[in-house]
């Protein structure tokens, strides 16, 4: 341990960045849950909306992936 403060900061930052993925998880769960709630109310319309479901999940997940990327960059690239 040479007291590399930049390294320490990078690792702490990576950990903090990973918290952003929790938000993405909440968002994806929200999308899927609301889809399921809607599908149970009107099952006949559900099949036509699976594409929209996956697009919504993909967009919500993209933001989580960004924070994951930031974490990885801090861990390995800084």
């Amino acid at each position: 341990m040479e007291g590399d403060i930049v390294q320490m900061g990078a690792y702490i930052g990576a950990g903090l960045a990973c918290m952003g993925m929790g938000g993405a998880a909440v968002g994806v769960g929200n999308v899927a849950g609301n889809y399921l709630a809607g599908a149970l109310r009107n099952p006949s319309a559900a099949a036509g909306q699976t594409a929209t479901l996956f697009i919504g999940i993909a967009f919500a997940e993209a933001l989580g992936i960004f924070s994951f990327l930031v974490a990885l960059l801090l861990m390995f690239a800084v």
Partner: protein, 183 residues
């Protein structure tokens, strides 16, 4: 993973002397060219495989199957129409047979009824004859009984008159008895 040390000159910037990754291999710039080149090759290869061979073939197979299915559905429609016709004919035959059966049953019933009526009429006649005979016999019996009673009554009355000491000629007594019996 290779654990023996390898030549640093050969391994390049992104791999350490044990063959392990330094940082993220994904961000190692010296591998980009290789990957991009082979990716383009792979994608072009897949594109030509798909657009030249696979997609037209699968499309034609699907179209052919669609055609076959359409034909089969048409044939099935024909068969269905035929089946409906056959069913109608069958129904008609059934109705005819049922009507025939009804007719036969009615005829049989009428015959039986006629026989029955004839038998009843004959029985009635016989009964009537028997009844008339009986009536006649009864009336004869009654008439003879009446006569006997009259004679007994006359004899009895004459005997009673004689016993009472009166002389009674038979004519008077019998007239009196007749008058009494009529009253």
């Amino acid at each position: 993973m290779a654990t023996e040390p390898i030549d640093m000159e050969v391994a390049g910037m992104c791999v350490n002397e044990f063959g392990g990754a330094i940082g993220m291999p994904q961000l190692c710039g010296e591998w980009f060219g290789n990957q991009i080149f082979w990716l383009v090759v792979a994608l072009v290869a897949i594109y030509f495989i798909l657009s030249r061979i696979a997609l037209p073939r699968i499309g034609s197979v699907l179209a052919e199957r669609q055609g076959t299915i359409t034909n089969d559905i048409a044939a099935a429609e024909d068969l269905k129409v035929k089946a409906t016709e056959a069913e109608a004919a069958y129904d008609k035959a059934l109705i005819d047979a049922r009507a025939e059966a009804h007719r036969i049953v009615a005829a049989a019933k009428a015959d039986i009824q006629a026989d029955l009526n004839k038998a009843i009429a004959q029985a009635d006649v016989e009964i009537a004859e028997k009844a008339a005979e009986s009536e006649k016999a009864i009336s004869e019996i009654r008439a003879s009984a009446m006569q006997n009673v009259e004679e007994v009554a006359k004899d009895t009355a004459q005997a009673i008159v004689a016993a009472l000491g009166g002389s009674a000629d038979a004519k008077t007594v019998s007239a009196a008895v007749e008058a009494r019996m009529k009253g």
